[in-house]
Symmetry: C3
Subunit: 316 residues, 3 copies
Amino acid sequence: MTRSAQLDTHRRLRHLISLENLPAAEMLRLLDRAESLRQEWFANRRKLDLLHGRTVVNLFFEPSTRTRTSFDLAAKRLGADVINFDIASSSTSKGESLVDTLHTLEAMHCDAFVVRHKENGTAEFLARHVRSAAAVINAGDGNNAHPTQGLLDAYTIRRHRPDFSALTVLICGDILHSRVARSDIHALRTLGVGTLRVCAPANLLPAQTELPGCEIVEDFDTALGGADVVIMLRLQKERMQHAQVPSEQAYYARYGLDARRLRLARPDCLVMHPGPINREVEIASAVADGAQSCILEQVGNGVFVRMAVLAELLGT
Amino acid sequence: MTRSAQLDTHRRLRHLISLENLPAAEMLRLLDRAESLRQEWFANRRKLDLLHGRTVVNLFFEPSTRTRTSFDLAAKRLGADVINFDIASSSTSKGESLVDTLHTLEAMHCDAFVVRHKENGTAEFLARHVRSAAAVINAGDGNNAHPTQGLLDAYTIRRHRPDFSALTVLICGDILHSRVARSDIHALRTLGVGTLRVCAPANLLPAQTELPGCEIVEDFDTALGGADVVIMLRLQKERMQHAQVPSEQAYYARYGLDARRLRLARPDCLVMHPGPINREVEIASAVADGAQSCILEQVGNGVFVRMAVLAELLGT
Amino acid sequence: MTRSAQLDTHRRLRHLISLENLPAAEMLRLLDRAESLRQEWFANRRKLDLLHGRTVVNLFFEPSTRTRTSFDLAAKRLGADVINFDIASSSTSKGESLVDTLHTLEAMHCDAFVVRHKENGTAEFLARHVRSAAAVINAGDGNNAHPTQGLLDAYTIRRHRPDFSALTVLICGDILHSRVARSDIHALRTLGVGTLRVCAPANLLPAQTELPGCEIVEDFDTALGGADVVIMLRLQKERMQHAQVPSEQAYYARYGLDARRLRLARPDCLVMHPGPINREVEIASAVADGAQSCILEQVGNGVFVRMAVLAELLGT
């Protein structure tokens, strides 16, 4: 999405479709807001009243646990009502178009649409068709973007390593099918991470033009050298064609993060993963559950980051 | 439903099953309440506290987007809690009868049941079996009635054309399978619309006895003459037997509302449709999205009308 | 579950997995809390604020109407938010393990997990894996336990017959497959019911060691003699192997509670059933809907008992 389409005429964030071209100042404002909401939550454990009277619609065309629940909780903890739009049993089964569904829900004075869809560009498409003041938030479109994941990953890293310019961050795994990788790269580049490195089997690596500013290292052991953060990606078996990966065991042997490999990184290297994890496929249980793992912390931070996005987009 | 069954012993509305035999005074009270709730909403955009502590149960045995969501929002914006009763995954799959389900939910102190079912008479059947003070609201039963749609259509017309006696309202399309048409006719007759006219292919027209007080005109071009309002109906493909309509193209040629035809009506004729629309089947996109279209306004008004129904029936 | 696992180090209830080994003092505290919440509800019909800011997750791996809705209403009437975790459309379909799902939801600061699963021991398994202060509540695991049902049955009896030591309680039906029977037996024994009697066809009766302190009577007419309370069980057709019961008619002839049989019990004998009932299979409609039936009262009490469990476990 072009910068102007995502921002309004006052250059304030209007929708959240992609982190590509999102100015660093906007990202930092969201991360700072997440931090203040987090502190407020831990101080009181009370719901806020910021979005009282507002309605957030979850439009999930792909199954999801964590992301949908995370947005659901984020909205409720800000005092909003949530409509979980069950696509399978909805009138889209009567052939209504997505845009007509959007306009119908806008006519009911819904304020935000959280959209997940297997097709790239769905959230942007909806954002272009919004007629009211409602905001569209991309909760994942195909392999294109998952901006709240990119933000929560940046937020999680910042809580541990505030000086991004000194960091080496390695993203490893199925980059080709990963909207998480794309959003992480956009976030971390914009926020000034010193070295961004990606590692994947050649057939799970997109063209270099899709990896702006990234070092590409095919051998995982080599790639881990000097890493302050390693973000492991889920093997997106459901999006792969047959035989892109010979076997899970062979994949794990070459690209699985186990305890031996983790020792090749810096001693305090953070281990991250967007979840859900495939244990002993891309990551060893001992590492996923180990002292350096931030995986569950990412999940918790996701709620605060989504609260921040909702609060900022709905203008409160 | 007989008048006495829908009203209580003080002649106040107790359930909302059908607009047939509903006194004009009751209808007007609901429309006026919708208007005042609308104004309150736009002034504050805050949820009201009228139904705090009350529980509204959505019992939808047919898929629905707009109606279920509309009731869901209406209840929440009045401060009620909503139980969306997922029929497919419920104990009705264990063979529990509908009446036992009703009594179970009443025993849990649920206050209103919003019922959609493909069988005519389901809501009335449930209303007859209610044992508590709970209200039953028909959200559509077979081709019989959809009273909140009838009310919201009347409400929408009244906002634009307050003097009903001077109006010619045309309802066009699949009258035979349409609960919307039946409820619109009951509402508009009771509220004193000057001329009520229906237009449909002969095989989609019910017996004249089902169209009390209506002119019947088979040719659509002729029917449009002098119309102040035209209500287009959805071609209920899912309720039709094979070959009731030869083809969508043929149907559109004879009964589709396009720009040329709309010019046969009065210049400021309102275009309405209960949605979801079949574009280029019963209505041209240019008309559905045009300046005379009230289709999305109907959607928005539906929430206020349902708020009014819930508030009145739950006695607050 | 061992006593120490269910209680915390201060011997307060931490999870509710089973009534086996739950001290009488804990049970009585829950029943007393249910009574006070009931009175507060009927005085005000307002939601309470006790669990404001808390999140209750319904993790139902088996379809359920009444239990899920009952917990949903209980949580909402205490001011909590509820996440209904739809298992079929969740990431468990991506192969995520149950424990990883639990930890993910804990990381989002969810406070209670209400779990139903067809496998015995699922709730206990989750309770052993909880890492936060969250509580696990067993809403039914296989044929093992359904502790809130046991409590609400005890509560319902106590409201009518406060002196348990004088009572004869008969549980009749498919004891073998019934988690309700097991929890009822644990509750009523612990609370000091004078005579606990079970009645079932030989092939639907578990080993005597699973029926601690119970008289076993195979003939239903004989078993009813002197009963103050008869708890009829649902014929769990969905959990039975073929031909465990020859036919519903034959079952009803021997183990159905009809008006004639009810007269064999004490004149004011209470009739109970956990629902949903199979009419004319284990109970005659005339009895289920008759003056001695407490079946719907059980449903209503269930909400108050679950409010009590949530309030006590979440420490408010």
